[in-house]
Symmetry: C2
Subunit: 201 residues, 2 copies
Amino acid sequence: MRVTKAQAQANREHIVETASVLFRERGFDGVGVADLMAAAGFTHGGFYKHFGSKADLMAEAAANGLAQSLTNNVGIGVPEFVNVYVSREHRDAPGGGCTMAALCGDAARQPPELKATFANGIENTLAALESQYDTGQEAPQQEVRAKMLDMLAHAVGAIMLSRSCPDDSALADEILEVCRARIIASLPPAPAQQPAVDTES
Amino acid sequence: MRVTKAQAQANREHIVETASVLFRERGFDGVGVADLMAAAGFTHGGFYKHFGSKADLMAEAAANGLAQSLTNNVGIGVPEFVNVYVSREHRDAPGGGCTMAALCGDAARQPPELKATFANGIENTLAALESQYDTGQEAPQQEVRAKMLDMLAHAVGAIMLSRSCPDDSALADEILEVCRARIIASLPPAPAQQPAVDTES
DNA sequence: TGTACATCAGTGAACGCGCGTTCACTGATGTAC
DNA sequence: TGTACATCAGTGAACGCGCGTTCACTGATGTAC
């Protein structure tokens, strides 16, 4: 049952995207090759026509997920990004959410190639955040980068800690609410001292 | 080869502590029952004389690790805690480090019982941090709790993100250094506006 | 205190199962003429 | 354009392996008398 080259390429991409979601939901070890292929609408045997190994797909799926989380959050501005990111909706839907938050615990135990993919995803996310971060005043690029890196770690920690609590627990929600408010409050260098500046001026 | 009741109890505790370290190093799925028992100096068959299942041990080992991270950091003060926590030494030694940072990614996919154990560990850590947090001024208990919860998520995120980067990468170190400095700077409510107050006055 | 027997922590072979991976096969696609 | 053949994406059975768990067994401990 051979298939068009274009169809085969589309199938391959579909498998990567399916894997990207499933890995975020269940972790790398929680998704088998047969599971994955069935979820994508295929039988497991064809897997190795597309990928050298499960580890290879893990790297591709991670890269795909890391890139996707970027395109999902382009141009909304940093405070709104934090509102969307540090939310119950995001916490409760890891499959469609941030790959860093869903898989960085797993990534820490993976071989260097996959960690490099992760570091690359972090760098790209950082670059996107930097470009959207308006301090309302001149700020050296290094300072902006540090601020966004700090904010990202903060937000990732909030989601991950919240996800490790029982689904209906007050603590899980408290973590999100406390952290969201404080991350947003920390965004402009000194919000209370510096009244809102019209960015269109 | 039966063994003294006291010895059996000691062996059981030794298995839990060994598991606590190995799970932090390799994750719940990365440690088999046979691995674990061998590391503790036993054969695998005896495991079920002590524990009903691997899942039961996971909960006990997590509780043990979460309690341990508390006793390791009693009385050193919050800024010093951050210095020790958000460090390369901690990042590079997960087996002896914080159970939250090592396993909260795994915990998010575990059954409610284990998540409840995790939430309990977070609450206990919070209580310990609150008792050590000196704002230099009067602050409502709720505000102190929020500050410590926020700080904990921030520190956990920094370690986890750093661990997901390649071992020798500049980004891994940058994350730690940037976050450590900023977390510490954020500790007193307004460090720049409020010069050091002699706490002995 | 000494003796006989039950208990049970620890051993190591064995179990069923699911995993990642391989392979012979199918049949539509792609290609050479 | 039409024909003959090679290619190869996808199928599904099979592989070896390691996992969590079970079990008959051992022999020192604990207990009853």
